[in-house]
Amino acid sequence: MSTYYFVIVGHNDNPIFEKEFSTVNKEQRKEDHRHLSQFIAHAALDLVDEHKWKTANMQLKSIDRFNQWFVSAFITASQIRFIIVHDNKNDEGIKNFFHEIYDTYIKHSMNAFYKIDTPIKSPMFEKKSEIFGRKYLLS
């Protein structure tokens, strides 16, 4: 019983890719949850932006929390922010997930037809994130 809300946030605080991973059945999940996660992720951006200049690491472990939710983040070299809002500790899994997604994101951003900061609408990207999510987050 754990949920993960993963989002890639562009330079203008705009989400460019969103995905939820959960062990809970889809029917049981509430729409409200996703909204709250979005709000939490957005609120965490302040801390992410503060921390990113204070550390050499790309990954920022549990930099913020609200009630039972933790926020972990990953900053790419181009200052794109990966945020995961999660309700249980899984540092190692999150780290692996971030790195795999980073890899995929870089490949995707190399696409000449993709404009930075615009929503990612690639089915391949979707599929890969799904795979990594299941592999590192939900397992």
Partner: protein, 1344 residues
Amino acid sequence: MRAVSGPGASNVGVDSVISRLDYEQNALHHSCLLVLLRGVGPSRARILQRAFEKVRRVNNIKVTDSSGNVRNVYFRFIHDHPVEHNDWGDFQTHRRLLGLVTIGKFDNQTELNELCRHHESLKVRYGSTLYESRAIFFGPDADSNSIINHQMKDGLSVVDNKHAVLQTIGEHGVRPDTGTKECQPGRIQDEYTTPSNFKSQAFFYREQDSCVDLEARIGDFLNALFWVLESRRLERSREKAEKVSLLLAPFEKRDFVGLDMESRNNRKRCVGRVMKNLADLSLQAGLLDEALSLYHNANETLRSVGDSLWVGASEEGLCAASAVILYPQMREIETLHRNASLQETGTSPLRKTPEKWRASDATKKINVTAATTTDALTSHSSSCSSVSSILTNNSSASGTPTTSTSSSSTSTISAVAPMGHRNGELPGNILKPEEIPNYYRKAIINYSKYRHAATIETEAALKATRICIEQNSPLDVAMFLQNILYINLSMSEPERVKQFEIITELYQQIGYQRKAAFFQRLAALKHVHQGSQAPDWTQSYRLLLGSFTGYLLSLDSLEVLENAAGWPALQIDLLQSLITAARRLGHSALATRHMTFLLQTQWGNMTATEQSEMAVQLQNLSAQCEGSPVPLVLENGTVIPPANLTDLPYCMKVVVKDLPPHLRPQRIKIAKADSGPFLFTPIHFNSVDSRDKKKNKNKIAFLWVQSDLCEVCVTLRNPLPFELPVTDMRLLTNGVVFESLPQTIILQPHAPTHISLHGTPIETGQLDLQGYSTHTLGVKSNCRLKHMRGRNLPPNYLVEVIPALPRIAIKTSLPQTATFSNMSRADIVVTSASLTLYNGESSSCTITVRNESDTLPLEHLEVSINSNVEQELQKKMFRIDDKALQAQLPVAPLSTIEFILHIYADADFVCPLPPAAGSVHSNSGGASNEHGASSLSPYSNMSGHASLPMRVGSPDHRRQQESQNLNVRSTLSGAQQSLASLNVQPGAVGGLPNLRPAQSSQHIEAQLRLKYSGGEALVAGYCRQCAVSFNLELLPSAQITSWDVLPAEIASQFYLVLDISNLTAQEMSLNYTDNKNILIEAKESCRVPIPVDRCSLEQVCIARAAEVAENLERELCFRTQLLSFSDALSKLCSTHIAERVKINWLLTGTDIKGVASLRGIVLSHEMVDLTTVSPIQWYISFQDAPVQPHSEMTCTVGQRAQLSISLTNQSLQPLKNLVLTIKFYQDYLNGMENYNLETRVAISGPNRITIPVLEKSAQSQHNCSVIFFTPGRFKASIECATRPQQQGSGILTRSCPEATKLSQLETLSSPSANLNTLSASSLDEQQPHVWKFIPPIEVTVMEP
């Protein structure tokens, strides 16, 4: 203002836990003396506000104590103070309420009594801690007669003199002596008396009083407070360590019941707590160094006994004392923040915490001076660094690392020099800036061990946060704030909301807008939580609106679209919450506005379903309150800018339409003023204008006319899946006053719709078209082009509006045409007329012009004809009496004038030149090329036809072919008589049927263009142009198919023989000379001879001279093509004939008649010779009798007859190379002529005589004798011929060597050779001419 808080508020917290958090607290408040400042009586905020401000301004006093040190003592004015907070006074002395000031307003004695009662009740409530109180009363204004001097109205009444000691303590000396005021009239305290149970000091003022001495009095009051506190401190410090009682936090009371107070541990605890208490007092009394030392000691003592709560308190105290020294500017910053928040709250400023009323210049000034005294601490950033550097110096000098402060503190306590740090040095035991958060953390951990200390813990965290903000370490701020959330503090929902709001504010202070927005939204949602008893939508709305910045939203939709930043899903959610709040508040206008904003800004971020859902929602909302593009102002002064649905419907294209062509204004062409000798100048004096024009790229090229309906075409698309009605669509303009006509349309889903928006400019000048306004989904929007994104629309269109022009309506007397003209500028045609005429017929048309304008006269009318025929022809065909027309001007409004257009159907009657072809080729207009080509096409297949070669090609070409044709004709006629050339013509006549289709009818299109103007526009130089289209059908009438020239009976005339065909379908009566008529059946032709006077020699000479001149000119221009003289001559003859011969025709049975002219007739060389008067005058005598025409001459066989021929040169030129030939022949009158008469007649002497030169007016005589051998009728042909020069060059060489030489030269290098008049005449001589004596002499030879 909340005047009186109910007394019930005091008994809320029965539990010893502090019921209410003081969220405003900061570390510096530890050093302040708490004073309750309260308004009493009925609320009169406006009046009392000034007094409140004055009191608050005095929050700091400087006191010189007994040892001569200056103490800086601060006060904190609060508005509300729960009594139970006083219970914590032992734990932290600054929580104790020490003073009370009430401010009230009364109008009569009863009210004054009430105010006094309030004051006393407050005194009672806080009696346990209160040191002193004051009341400030504002009475009614004195009677008008008693008001003399506002300044002198002040009065002071010391009602209760039990605090008389104050007067001695007061150091300001500004206290007015009561006695000096006695003389002043209307002392308010004389009029009203306070009740006997009122035992406080009160100050009375008039309502309009300036209260000059109020500050001084408050200062005295605060002084009094300080001295009481100081006495308490001294009391405490003198207490013997063995005798001190245990100080307790409120909730501890039960814990220590029954414990042994005398144990060593507890003794120590007592001492430690007292020490901490003393430190608090010292801090308040302005003894910072002492306070620091005491805190350190207390901390150590208490820690040794494990009294965590008080350890925490001492740690917090340390932090506070350090902060007071390190960050004195925090007081100032705080006031600034208060000021900022004050603006937000707007109309209800006093509903919030009273602290904001401390905002005043006085406090700042005091703080600034305080800061400057500690000169290292002037600025925020430098304070941290400088302080730390000083500290590190100190610590390194003493050799004690930072961690061992506690150990070193014992030693430092004695070492502290009183007020030493004031002179630039900091006390050695002060906490370093970076230590403060650590100490706070420790304190919080200590507090967190006690459930009942949660409030203290929270407050500590807030204080720590504020210090961290001061230190500019946002991560620490975030950490402390984060911690607050997890403090297990049971609090009511409003409390929690308040907490969120404070957290928001603090996050905002460190610039964490997103975090702030998160908590702001949480607070907003908490306000209206589902379970909430009384949801406060106002607060919720306010907070939601406040969180806009955090979500990168702005109130202005334009800005939002511009930035295109932020998290759309969250923005939509926020906006929807906002709309709900606004709706619940009952602010339908706001709800509609926000919904409009949502649709406008988030359109691209919504799915199609969401879009239509939102649109429907908007429709529902706007049903309650219509949206309009005006800014809405909230109660707190926030302005909600208008939101416009610029893209609903979506504008795809905007086209500004010109006026209809016939109404389009034009410039009246005015003859250019003489601008000097230069045709072109590179210097542009009006270059400024042209540069301006370049700037205005959106300037429309055409003009609009004042009070004329104008049109803008807009293409709209409805992006919604349902029908979208758009009502009241109008153009939005700027500049000139413009009356827009509303337009309503229902847009079908997704289908682009064109819509025309109309309007009338009322003024003249520049009109700025900015867009249009719509009313759709219940919202009025101003859709400006500049706000429409993603399309290539200019920000605006600029149209020049010129003064009003009149309008006219035109009627003609002719029927209208069924077809449309394909002439150029056909668009300006307003009406048409058609007319069918036979060639040569005349007609007229009456044109009626009506001025349709209501006000403007028609002052200017210019009529011109434009047609597809050449200018010359056109002049002949259409005629207007312009003078008569101009005489009728001006035309008054709504009246009419008439004028007549004369039409003559001019055509080429001379075949084989079809008139159409002729006119087409000569038409210079480029526009008619097409027309010409099309009319040419029927002939193109005939181009090879030998008999009709001249129908094709350009005029030049035609001329060549004409001459060719003439050559053909002349060669054909050859030696035969010239009449024989007529025989050639039947070929051409035979070809006539081929001509028929082209000849059948000819269409001429013409436009009668009218330029008209009037009123101001005329002055400005504008006019309108419209046209009447004329469709003229020219039917062939008479046609001259062939012609020839025959010598007439008399030498001065010749016969022009014409073959005339009647091409009409009716019988035609032809009148060809004065009295001769002939009837021609339809489609028949007949031959008529017309005697015509010959062309005189003078004319020939003139023509020759003109030609010579022209040749010279051509030669000067290096033209190679020279005109031949014969060409000019033939033209001359042609016009000569055309002028003299007019053939009138009449269609019998009708009154249709016309005139056929012979214009354009082409004459051959021989014909020309016959047409012109011969240069040679003959004088012939036979048998010494002069020969008369048709005279009978007789002679007898075998008898010699004398024939004498005399030639005179009549021309102006000498004639050269003349050959006179005499030939006798017999005319059998059957077409046979016998020249073979060697056996019948003999001439003595030559019958060919060469005359080399016949000078002008010279005579040449030739005599010979003739003998006839047989009787019969003989004829003599006497002719004189010139031969081309080269043949007789031998003779010429003798007579005129120069000419020969020249002519030879000419033959060698013919056209480009130098020519003079001589050579020109010789050119003429190159042509062979034959002049005959007409009629031939007839001689009847009889038998002797």
